[in-house]
């Protein structure tokens, strides 16, 4: 199987470890991810905040490049996925002039839903060498991957299941909680630190109260926010995993603690406690 891959800016910087784990997982699953030729930024929150036209034009550039490759798109970042889908809908409505040739006909997958399809879950289960038994975690989806449903296509946006199904497939114990899709504050901490911190702290508290020892995410910004707030060490750190990091662990014979060196809340003690590393 071949798909075009839209990594997004974070995967070159703050979430380089996410990129590496994605690479390993898709190689193991024999799925060919072809990076979109000369991709550019989707515009994120800034584009739609200041210029609604740019928020359609910027993702359209990448849709156009992917269309020339003729491959459906998979995006690991929640916001990239959301912006690409939004742009696609606006292109189909033909309400804006796009400087690039684009039809908006390709399928755009978010990576969690792609890997949570029954056939893919089967493939994942088949390749698990050693399941993560005993790892108690909550799945955190954030906003942009699930909302608004008319753009993301999620029908279970109140209680999404894609990450839950994947975490379950790799043997972890998934705990239910009420904050799956509550906002982490995104980039607001850059200008208003106290707002960002209050939202992130509450999420970590609620995860702990639910009995989780770790959080699983798919969005680079959610990961950064939940992890960075633990920079100075907490009494009871809550490691924040990308879901592909967990899959990669299970797929590998030799597991390297260095895979997690970019994390502030170090997952290695937790993983060695359950004999996973």
């Amino acid at each position: 199987m071949k798909l075009s891959f839209y990594p997004g800016c974070s995967l070159e910087g703050m979430a380089a470890d996410y990129a590496r784990s994605i690479d390993a997982v898709f190689k193991a699953l024999d799925i060919d991810l072809v990076e979109i030729d000369d991709w550019s930024c989707c515009g994120a929150t800034a584009a739609h905040s200041l210029s609604e036209a740019m928020s359609v034009i910027l993702p359209a550039r990448n849709l156009s490049a992917a269309e020339q490759m003729g491959l459906d798109i998979v995006a690991p970042c929640a916001n990239c996925f959301n912006r690409l889908r939004f742009s696609q809908q606006m292109i189909q409505k033909k309400v804006l002039d796009i400087p690039w040739p684009v039809t908006g006909d390709l399928k755009i997958h978010d990576m969690t839903r792609f890997l949570a399809q029954p056939a893919m879950i089967k493939q994942i289960k088949k390749r698990v060498l050693k399941p993560l038994n005993g790892l108690k975690l909550v799945c955190y989806y954030g906003c942009q991957m699930v909302r608004p449903p008319r753009i993301t296509g999620y029908t279970d946006y109140e209680n999404p299941q894609t990450l839950d199904r994947i975490a379950d497939a790799v043997g972890a114990r998934v705990i239910d909680w009420s904050y799956k899709a509550t906002c982490c504050g995104a980039s607001i901490g850059i200008g208003r630190r106290e707002i960002g911190n209050s939202l992130t702290k509450r999420l970590l508290d609620k995860a702990r109260q639910a009995g989780a020892e770790a959080v699983v995410v798919s969005c680079p910004l959610c990961q950064s926010n939940l992890d960075m707030i633990q920079k100075d060490g907490l009494e009871q750190p809550v490691p924040v995993f990308y879901f592909t990091e967990l899959i990669r662990l299970c797929f590998s014979e030799r597991r390297d603690p260095k895979w997690f060196k970019m994390h502030f809340a170090d997952p290695v003690p937790l993983l060695s406690k359950i004999n996973a590393i």
Binding site: E12, G13, S40, A46, S51, I57, G185, R193, F264
Partner: protein, 211 residues
Amino acid sequence: MNTTVMDHNMSSERRPGEERKFIGDRGDYFLNRIQGETNGNVSACYQCERCTNACPVSHFMDIKPHQVIRYVQLGWREDLLRSSTIWVCLSCEMCTTYCPNEVRVAEIINHLRNIAAHSSIAPKEKQLAVFHRTFLEVLSKSGRVNEFRLMKAFYSKPHILSEKIKSGNLKEELLLGLALLKKGRLKPFSTRSKLTKDIRKAYIQSRGEIV
């Protein structure tokens, strides 16, 4: 008799925020404009406050989400553009998703933010507004946004550094930056997209310039 009428119109007799607003037919004009541009179903709002109750940051807003919709109906344009609400909103889409009348609250707030960004009204949350603008500038220079470059550009903007010193956040943020560099999460060197020229052109056009 006349004195009572006069008293009624004297704003000094009223508490701040209670001044009488004369809007004439402007109300309809603004409502129709927002309705047309966002397809937001503004008139369907019956003030149930579901949006405000779902909002994770309504606590930090001066005009709450349900009030935003009421203000749009009344045409209180300046109050909205001067509010902190339009900048504090995270576009998390809780309000829109849970509205029983399909009022597109988040899209309306986002559109107000767009209008404010192109107006002469100074944003109440300057740092948040400047951050968005800096993001687009970095994007239009290299096609992609490298976090190190973005933060460098943001801190170089006028008044940002001094505001960070005033709020007492500077030290903590510099330490965070250093920690991120050490972890290898901030990368001082970045890749570019080859089509930056086209992106820059689109950006300039979107600001109304002829290229």
